[in-house]
Point group: C2
Chain length 460, copies 2
């Protein structure tokens, strides 16, 4: 089995396992107690906080341990917003943040606040100017991830932090995907991270609030962790998280070079091995271990199953693999193809041979899925009038609308148009992306009785 989904959750680092086992025996007592077991627990907690603060590059009293990265994000945003309520209730986020950030923004809007989403380019990166333009007099907080979890694109955090600092607005950085690789540069004010993303155990997040950043804890009072993370300290997991962060950092420089070379193999060879593939995300300014591509005419869920059968665990931002009907908000914001989407995120230690085997297996897996979808009869061509066709793909899910479009485009003359009727949310993303990949013109979207009509003009 090759587990290539480290961006969801990394396997436990051996050092995390050792530290967890050791502190199951030493660190189960309440660190607030004065007796021996309590003092021992307090010492372990203090040492873990020192190690984590050192890795983050912050003061010990600026860092608390939360029960998850999600909790760190929720508590960080809520506390920072409340701390600056007098300034206003406007929040800035990038369009490609983790759902923990976006759901916090939705919550704020539902309560009468306001949120602005800063767009990204086709590589998934924000521009610092995007944050500058989004700033308002009532902006209480801005949020930006250090690097994207779906495509690996590294964000210009230091530049955005500078834009915010100049405006007197704190920046919260979601460093979940990158903290194992190194500290986050720049004059950020708050930082959140998640231990299971760097090979630590589940159940531990970090929340850092810089001295001077206004912060008002929300929710019922609790005396633990400076009042910022309610609940009994999960000490064995905290100790394991801190120890593994230190261990992962010690290996980071060498491992980054190695993984970057392996993901580069995928980036360059997949488009040669598999036709009609779009590699998405920044080509160089990216995390070492993540590479994401989308395959035309492929159902993401079926491809994941094929790869799983071959022993590869990967994830997908295609709409057809999730319980929702919409493709990943990251791919949507980037405006790239979402069908047949595959994210490969290599855990540290991944063997080159496993990547080679993946590259050997992938073409067969994709063509197998494509054959299955090419099987059914062509969609009914609803109407032919002169040099335009209408394809009725209503009720059909990704990747069928794009497949039907590809099948009929040759039936109109160059300069002619195809109208695709579709009520699948992925079509809005995938039909323009198909046009760009195939050198056809995407004219635009027209309202329709059901779904929408997507107009394509044949150019070649």
């Amino acid at each position: 089995m090759s587990y290539f989904d480290a961006a969801s959750s990394a396997p436990l680092h051996p050092v995390a396992r050792q530290a967890l086992l050791a502190s199951l025996d030493e660190g189960w007592a309440d660190p607030a107690r004065l007796y021996r077991e309590g003092r021992r627990a307090r010492m372990l907690l203090d040492a873990a906080r020192e190690a984590a603060a050192d890795a983050v590059g912050c003061r010990v009293d600026e860092l608390v341990f939360t029960s998850s990265g999600t909790r760190a994000v929720h508590a960080g945003i809520a506390g920072a917003l409340a701390g600056r309520r007098r300034v206003g209730r406007h929040l800035i986020v990038s369009a490609v943040e983790h759902s923990a950030v976006l759901h916090s923004a939705e919550g704020l809007v539902a309560e009468g606040g306001a949120a602005t989403e800063v767009p990204v380019d086709r590589t998934g990166a924000v521009r610092p100017e995007g944050y500058a333009e989004a700033l308002r007099a009532d902006t209480a907080l801005a949020c930006l991830q250090s690097a994207n979890h779906e495509v690996g694109t590294v964000q210009p955090v230091a530049e955005v932090a500078e834009v915010c600092r100049a405006a007197g607005v704190p920046l919260l950085v979601d460093a979940a995907q990158s903290l194992g690789w190194g500290p986050v540069e720049g004059a950020w004010s708050l930082l959140a991270a998640s231990a299971h993303k760097w090979g630590g155990p589940a159940g531990v997040g970090l929340l850092v609030v810089r001295k001077g950043a206004r912060f008002a804890v929300q929710g019922p009072v609790d005396e633990r962790e400076s009042g910022r993370a309610a609940g009994f300290e999960n000490l064995p997991a905290i100790v394991a998280a801190a120890a593994s962060l230190r261990a992962v950092r010690a290996e980071a420089a060498a491992e980054a070079v190695r993984l970057r070379e392996l993901t580069e193999r995928i980036r360059t060879r997949v488009p040669r091995l598999v036709p009609d593939v779009d590699v998405v995300g920044a080509p160089t300014h990216r995390l070492p271990g993540i590479v994401t591509f989308s395959c035309l005419y492929v159902d993401g869920e079926t491809l994941l199953h094929e790869l799983d059968r071959e022993g590869f665990s990967v994830s997908s931002g295609s709409s057809c693999t999730s319980s929702t009907l919409t493709p990943s908000h990251v791919l949507r914001a980037m405006g790239v193809l979402s069908e047949g989407n595959v994210r490969v995120s290599l855990p540290p230690g991944t063997a080159a041979a496993d990547v080679e085997r993946f590259l050997a297996v992938l073409p067969r897996a994709v063509s197998g899925v494509r054959q299955r979808f090419a099987g059914p009869a062509p969609a009914p061509v609803a109407a032919v009038r002169q040099d335009s066709l209408v394809v009725d793909a209503l009720g059909k899910r990704c990747p069928i609308p794009v497949i039907e479009l590809a099948k009929v485009i040759g039936n109109v003359p160059v300069g002619g148009t195809v109208r695709v009727l579709s009520d699948d949310a992925a079509a809005r993303l995938d039909i323009p992306a198909w046009c760009e990949m195939r050198g056809q013109e995407y004219v635009g979207e027209e309202p329709a009785d059901r779904g929408a009509a997507y107009l394509v003009r044949r150019l070649s």
Copy 2:
């Protein structure tokens, strides 16, 4: 070392340890994923939920795992209040709930809601009538612990649940201290518990919301755990929590008999071995492993240090041991002596020999502390007029005000009075308690320039 503070946190049960180790290898992946590691994680999560629901006596889809018992309480109260906002914003709690419940109540009041504290008797038990009297037309929720964490008193949950049910008000039970001993009886609507209290790992709480109970999740949306517990599932800890709950339950009946006999030894023998001791809490309707007593003329923190030096880890509700200046709210609500307070809570498996050694060590430890406090010169007797004395204990902390009172009471004739001036919050509890223990009359409290004056009449 004898760890006698299981009510704070129980040492990890061997089954929890085994299950945790096993699922560190099997259960680190995201259970929402479709590949092999994800499916395996999902199966472990489902099995853990079934085991926990079976132990609670609820449906599988009524139970979610939270990151701590505190989080379960906070989320349970917030969700239940929000679910019944149309009814009103009144909350009923007992005066001896865990701080997680009381802090939630304070938060509600701070936001414009209302809370009523139901008083307890001298054993720490509520009366069902107390809840009946507290119910209002706008009562959204009532909360009651299954058993008290400081004195072990078992509460009449089924009766209170019936009172609430008749009024159409849901009851949330904080079962943190009792769930390892057995399910909570009665028609409760919500239940919260904490794994590290029954020998499971830290980082896992349970929140049960009965079908039919109105519940509106608060905070940002998160799809995990039915939307009721945000953050990546801490699967190894969840598996360990469920496995250890089952194991602890299998041993509960026999262990309850054994521990009850051991705590009974402490209950009956401590007052014989140590003069001026008040054993507090219900004598029979109590948890098997908890026994609490208070020692006159003793500083709680010093006694804890003495016992720690002798190898016993216990806790105390005395004001002098905590970072606050007030004694435990539980002892205060019970109206019992708080000075020199010691809670012994035996973990399952405690050896009888260790309890015997505790009983051998305690008298020496108490008398040592008392000698230290008897040392200083008597407090200045501020004024003597006829048959009344004034003792100025201003600026002096527990147990000094009571010690000074005891020193001078013999200096007034029977029928005469002593006024103790004190600004220590513990005096309000300890001076009346001393009077009751010593057969003197506590006349009452009078306002004073600083602190208060406590008036005592000599009866014997």
